[in-house]
Symmetry: C2
Subunit: 198 residues, 2 copies
C-alpha cells in the first residue's frame, strides 16, 4: 500500500539511546541526532515524535534493554546471597566501560524536577532493582542463609543507595573509592549470613 521505511526504527532508537545517554537531553541538538542516527529530520519526527518524545522512548528502551537484563540473575530461580555479590562486582567492573554512567541517573539529575515522565521512569527502574534485591533476600531467608528477622525491604533500600553511589563515582572516575566501597558492601552482605555452628 505504501512505501517502506528505509531504516529499522528499533536500530535507530538504539543509536538515540547511545547519544542521549552520553550527552544528556539539553546538550543533544537535533542536528546531533540527525547526524548520529543517519536519518532525515522529518523521518525522525514522523517516526518518534518530537525531541522530548524520542528522549523518553530512549530512556524507557534503556531500562528495558540495558537495566533489566542485568537484573536477571537476581530475579530468576532461587538465588543465594552470592548473586548479590556478583551483581555488585559486575557493576563495579561495568563502570570502566560505561563511561556515560547510568542513563536513568543522568536523566533524573537533569530533568526530574521539571519532567514528570522522567521522574516516573526513574521510579520504574528503582522498583525493578528493588524487586531483584528483595527476591534474592527472600530466597536467602527461605533457605536459612540469612536470619528470619532481617528487614528485607530495608536492606534492599540500602543496596539501592550503593548502586547509585557506585555509578556516580564511576562517572567521576573515582575507581579506587568505588572498588573499596564494593569490597565493604561484600563484607556487609557476608555479615548477613547466619553463622554456622561449629
Amino acid at each position: 500500500m505504501s512505501r517502506k521505511k528505509n531504516f529499522d526504527p528499533n536500530q535507530v532508537l538504539i543509536r538515540a539511546v547511545e547519544l542521549f545517554w552520553k550527552k544528556g537531553y539539553a546538550n543533544t541538538s537535533l542536528n546531533d541526532l540527525v547526524e548520529y542516527l543517519g536519518i532525515n529530520r522529518f523521518s525522525l519526527y514522523s517516526t518518534y515524535g518530537d525531541k522530548k518524545s524520542l528522549y523518553l522512548l530512549s530512556l524507557n528502551y534503556y531500562i528495558d534493554n540495558y537495566s533489566v537484563p542485568a537484573l536477571e540473575s537476581l530475579s530468576l530461580g532461587e538465588p543465594s546471597l552470592s548473586a548479590l555479590e556478583d551483581y555488585f562486582d559486575y557493576f563495579s567492573k561495568l563502570q570502566y566501560k560505561q563511561t556515560s554512567g547510568c542513563f536513568v541517573q543522568n536523566a533524573i539529575l537533569e530533568l526530574s524536577l521539571t519532567d514528570e515522565q522522567v521522574s516516573l521512569a526513574g521510579k520504574r527502574l528503582y522498583s525493578l532493582i528493588l524487586s531483584g534485591f528483595c527476591h534474592v533476600l527472600k530466597s536467602a531467608k527461605e533457605h536459612h542463609e540469612i536470619a528470619s528477622d532481617e528487614d528485607i525491604e530495608k536492606i534492599s533500600h540500602f543496596l539501592l543507595v550503593q548502586i547509585q553511589g557506585i555509578r556516580v563515582l564511576g562517572k567521576a572516575k573515582q575507581y579506587k573509592a568505588m572498588e573499596d566501597a564494593v569490597s565493604i558492601i561484600g563484607q556487609y552482605i557476608d555479615s548477613l549470613k547466619v553463622k554456622e555452628r561449629s
Copy 2:
C-alpha cells in the same frame, strides 16, 4: 577614578549558584541569568566572563560555601564516631529542603565527560569530604574507639559512596529508601566500635 558597580558581585554570584544548581548548565540560558541575577548582560560578561566561566565560578563557590561548612564538624578538633552519624543524619534531612540535589553531583553527571574544569571541581570536593571522614576515623582510632587495624581510607571511600547515593535518591524523592539506608549506615558505623569488656 571610575564608576562603581551598582551591584555586589558576591551577592549576584550567589544568585547564579542558585540558578545553575537548580537548572543545570545547558538548560540555563543567558536570558534566564539576566532575569534572575537582576544585572545587565554586559555587566555579567564584564564581571564574570562568559557563561562557562560564571558556571565554574558558581560551582567552586558552592563547594567553598555550601559543602565545606557542612564538613566542619568532621574536620575540627578530635571528633568521635558520632560526628559521622550526625553528618549522615544531617544530610538525609537536608534532602527534603535541597530539592536540587548536590550542585557538584549535577555538574559531574552533566559535564564531566567534556569539561576538565568540572571534573577537577568534583575531585576537589571528593578530597575535602574524604579528608573529613579520614580525620574522624583517625581521631576515633587514636581514642581506641575503633580497632587499630581498620582501613581508614577504605572506610572513607565507602562512606563517600553513601553520600553520593543518598543525594541521588534524595533528588529522586525516594525518601524512604534514603532513610532506610541511613539507618543501616548508622549500624555499620556502630559496628566499627570496639566492644567494651564486660
